[in-house]
Symmetry: C2
């Protein structure tokens, strides 16, 4: 524990040690919570070639990004008008007109650009890049003399700039555009947008250094954006500002109340007094429960974890650990969904995880992955990789229809048409995916997540290469080239072809999912019995790696019955099925209506079938024993329902809702033998 | 079917046949849906002397009525200020000041007066009567020259009278005061308040005859009030106006929208476009689902049923039957609670009966009893008596703490402290009864229900006396004096001592609860095997009754396992326990926390114990076999919960929440043997 945690009282006065030259990482012994001395692997260095993920990446690149581009340019009829590009053109003086959309409409363009940047790393596309360059040119023109960039305030209320941090998302939009700028620079080497956002960052720095020294964002995101600027430029001031936003938060729980009184106007009318919603009820070091708006929460935690890892700040890492534990051990759905209520799109209380009135916004699960990745960067542990995998294979991609044309905002674990989407308390839980949203945060965030998948597979530290995900891919790492073939998540068979680029010994550490059974690891065809060591869920093998090493990871993935903690009222008496990382659900399409009257049998006698046709073709379906309860017409009766044996079919949760409107349940009552 | 239904097109033009002299009811053969030719039995003629109900009546009379009087006079510290009497004094010019309270604050005084009137029939109290007379004097003085009576508009917005029927409850307050006036006249013979309300009724008549001919109340209640005026005065115009309000409703589904546009101001800001909430989406004849605000619904249905029975109007009775069926067969909780959502305090959709996010307002169950009683008056059927009993013994009296000091508005079938009363979607579901409410509709309504209990026991038609409830009492009927001793609801033992007052044969018809097992009826000590006939759940015995007849009704009341219809998602896998009419629930106080982790065993091996001490003393408790599931600390696990046998204790639902804050459940998961 050599590192002295940075004291909060030092904020703004920290004299940073010499930061590493990120292009020339030092090689030294890996210490606990060391200051980050390794470079994040560039996205272009990891090419996903995976049976499961590549088709989804291709869908994002070939279909969703162009579709979204059309939407941003208002060329898609019948969906919510975007006007987002026009807003920039108007702000740039290139077009006449009025601002239209949400106060954070700019962020839709930012997220699209970030997705484009990531997609260009996966699949270069000169024409797309040209169109992105054009958009960037417009953005540059929309930037004001003083560096300010935000079309809403530029067009509509220039006199109100920076007065309503609580509601008006100026920092949020800036953060997203910084993420886009960093990604675009990383992929294309072009720095036009990067320079725009560095100017904006400088503008923010000046504003918050001088006038708004205790200012904090209403919706966290700027912290992530600034950290990304820092990671590509090495400019400490961005890191310092990010840390300042994080540490300032909650110091004055009444900051937004005071801001609100001072300005005397409101935008949405959001409650500045709702301190937990705003995550200002305590400093980040004092917060020990995941509360408030769940997307904001995980965005904040992501930046905290990035800062903790980057600075080797144990105190901050400890704060992250507390929040991680509460969130993932008391407040997370089986699918990696978070947010138990639509009111405030928020966390509620421990073990309150209703399946049918759930929120579980797609963006929140994406943010959970961001957080997990930063925790893995700070300290590779299986508990982070496990949750990351859970969210990747379930609660994020469930947000998109399999054909890439429709999207969920809310990802329920149970849908009952007639109630869901209709009855108060369930109106937000739509039984099918709509085409687009007025508040279109989720679809573009899913694009940027999936196109940047390569960033989640590896962490390469001093002399350890960590593998977090069992994915088919080709990776150009510093110490090795690795090619992997994977049958995951349908089968536990992954083969790595490793070509070392150094003659020095180094460690390769593989996260082996906690669900793996009968694990066998073969090195060049021989079982590695006794070799390697286990640490935090990762199997480590240290050796001099040759030029043609073959490492095979094999394990069984039996169908698993999952039970929730007895404190979870909403899962009482229920079982859910998983196989590997994939959560299964039961749909009306396969099992008929009245899913609440079905029971999963204790003796499953499961069969695993690959779906042969239709929209679910190629996916592994489960058939298990169950019962159908039947009863009379009376509302209440003394007759115990009659149970009849039946076979039930379960489909991967992420693929639900692709066959018309019908009931769906993840948690099923269990009964009988 | 000799009666021609009244056509809606005739409204306002009906020439009524000669109405019967209600003091001299005709004696003739009972025909189906005849025009009502019998008098409702005056409350003073039925003295409740019942082990179960008398203590509750006494509590109402000795404790709640004086407590409420103090509240109305703002003499109780620490509860919501009422100001209701002051409002009347200010409107009367007797006091200076401002109006305070809800726009319908007057109705609190009306409901109190009605309760007082009923209580004076149960237990004369000269001092209370004198105080009530004084209040009535104030009310009389607050009445305006033109007959108008409403303190809000008299004090605050005289220029806005009758402009906002949708929101402003002028008709609602009038209706309640009419009920009070009728009850006070019935009990005391004093007609001062009656004359006030007849003048108000005339004022309304003039207003709605001339200016607001399509006007309808926002919150139904005036229809009940007018019918009560009609029943005590015999004045057809009141009946006609009630019918007009009923039949006008829904003819123009945009009535409130148009009214809203016309006046250009709002009170609460309630949505005039929410036609189902307002129950104006269709005419009452076309409505076939119980929708919208549940109290308003049952108040409307009550008046409809009263009109149907009074007029022999089969069409209207048919409309009532449709709504009754939908409400009681698809939308009613086991306890007789109605209203599945807090949003709009409303019904939702068929079979949507969540236990924990429920509304089930006390007033709504009371209104359900009003409706049931009017259906029984129109056509005595066991289905009405059964629901009436269900609401009486469960979902109404659960609204009051056993000591009469605190009250529920919402009557949940499940409470989970930490979530209930706290988390969005459950905030309205308080885990314990508060002292009073700003919108104090429920406590005084419960008072008037319980004090007027004697009205629910009997219907005496031409030559049939119907007994609807198995209650200890002394009744002075037209054809007989009846004294009953009852052990109900704890035991199925009721003994009637009948003294005929006529030598002519007549029929006595007893509702025998559907749950009765091993029924035995003894007449003067001999089993009546084969005697009597069954009709619609009533056992009829026609004979010349003597001066000293003893009729004993004996039946068993085993503990019953109740299952909900398979379509009720929220009761899936669950069982509830009832014994007789009493619904049982499980509380943390007896069973420890984590009720969701308990299971009721299929083999109950039940014991029935009378509680020996504490607040539940004298109540029958159940002990049954069950299981406690235990598991580890993990949020999700592959380990099936361990089930351990245990004994569980259930207490009468109405008595829940009297032993501190803790979990409570009516529906329990069932498992094991």
């Amino acid at each position: 524990m050599a590192i002295t945690p940075i004291e909060r009282t030092n904020v703004g006065k920290i004299v940073f040690e010499q930061l590493p030259d990120i292009s020339q990482p030092e090689r030294k012994e890996c210490a606990h919570m060391e200051k980050k001395k390794w470079e994040t692997i560039p996205l272009g260095n990891v090419k996903i070639k995976d049976n499961f993920w590549s088709p989804i990446q291709n869908l994002m690149i070939d279909k969703v990004i162009p579709y979204q581009e059309e939407i941003l340019n208002d060329k898609v009829p019948g969906v919510e008008k975007s006007h987002a590009i026009s807003n920039f053109k108007i702000a740039a003086g290139m077009e006449e007109g009025e601002f239209y959309g949400m106060v954070f409409q700019d962020s839709d363009v930012a997220k699209w650009l970030e997705g484009v940047a990531d997609s260009l790393a996966v699949k270069p596309d000169a024409d797309l890049e040209r169109r992105a360059d054009e958009v960037i040119e417009i953005i540059e023109k929309a930037q004001q003399e003083d560096g300010y960039l935000n079309t809403y305030f530029t067009i509509k209320e220039p006199e109100h700039r920076w007065q309503n941090l609580q509601e008006c998302h100026e920092l949020y939009c800036a953060g997203h555009m910084m993420e886009a700028a960093a990604a675009y620079y990383e992929t294309t080497g072009k720095d036009r947008l990067l320079r725009v956002m560095m100017r904006m960052a400088d503008h923010i720095e000046e504003k918050f250094e001088k006038e708004l020294e205790h200012g904090i964002p209403g919706h966290q995101e700027i912290e992530i954006g600034l950290m990304k600027l820092y990671h590509v430029t090495g400019e400490e001031k961005y890191l310092r500002r990010a840390l300042s936003f994080i540490e300032e938060r909650g110091k004055n729980p009444d900051y937004f109340v005071e801001e609100s009184k001072k300005r005397g106007w409101v935008h949405f009318g959001a409650d500045p007094e709702d301190r937990e919603y705003n995550q200002v009820h305590a400093t980040v070091y004092e917060q020990d429960k995941a509360v408030g708006h769940s997307v904001r929460a995980v965005y904040m935690y992501t930046a905290m974890a990035d800062l903790a890892g980057t600075l080797g700040n144990e105190k901050l890492y400890g704060a992250c650990e507390k929040l991680w534990d509460n969130m993932t051990k008391q407040r997370m759905y089986l699918t990696g969904g978070i947010g138990s209520t639509a009111e405030g799109e928020a966390f509620t209380v421990d073990y309150h995880l209703p399946a049918d009135s759930i929120y579980a916004e797609t963006c929140a699960s994406i943010g959970l992955i961001f957080f997990a990745r930063q925790m893995l960067e700070a300290e590779p542990k299986g508990i982070y990789a496990d949750v990351m995998e859970r969210a990747f294979y379930n609660g994020t991609i469930s947000g998109m229809q399999l054909d890439g044309t429709k999207f969920f905002y809310v990802n329920p674990l149970e849908v009952n048409p007639g109630v869901s989407g209709n009855v108060p308390g369930y109106r937000h839980v739509l039984p099918q995916r709509p085409g687009w949203y007025r508040c279109a945060c989720c679809p573009p965030s899913l694009v940027r997540l999936v196109t940047s998948l390569g960033k989640y597979v590896w962490t390469e530290k001093e002399d350890i290469i960590y593998s977090h995900m069992l994915m088919g891919q080709e990776a150009e790492l510093r110490k090795a080239r690795v090619r992997a073939e994977s049958e995951y998540p349908w089968n536990g068979r992954i083969t790595y072809h490793i070509e070392a680029r150094t003659e020095e010994a180094f460690t390769m550490a593989f996260f082996i999912p906690f669900h793996a059974r009968n694990l066998a690891i073969l090195l060049n065809g021989e079982e590695v019995n006794g070799q390697g060591i286990w640490k935090e869920g990762y199997w480590h093998l240290t050796k001099q790696w040759g030029k043609e090493e073959k490492l095979e990871i094999r394990f069984d993935m039996p169908v698993r019955r999952i039970y929730a903690n007895q404190k979870v009222r909403d899962c009482a008496g229920c079982v859910a099925l998983m196989r590997g990382p994939v959560v299964y659900c039961f749909e009306e399409a396969d099992n008929g209506g009245g899913l609440q009257s079905l029971r999963v049998a204790k003796s499953l006698e499961e069969e695993i079938d690959t779906c042969q046709d239709g929209v679910l073709k190629g996916k592994y379906l489960l058939k298990v024993n169950g019962y159908r309860c039947t009863g009379g017409e009376d509302l209440y009766t003394e007759e115990r329902p009659h149970m009849e044996k039946t076979r039930l079919t379960a489909v991967p949760y992420y693929a639900w809702g692709n066959r018309g409107i019908g009931q769906m349940r993840v948690w099923m009552l269990e009964d009988g033998d």
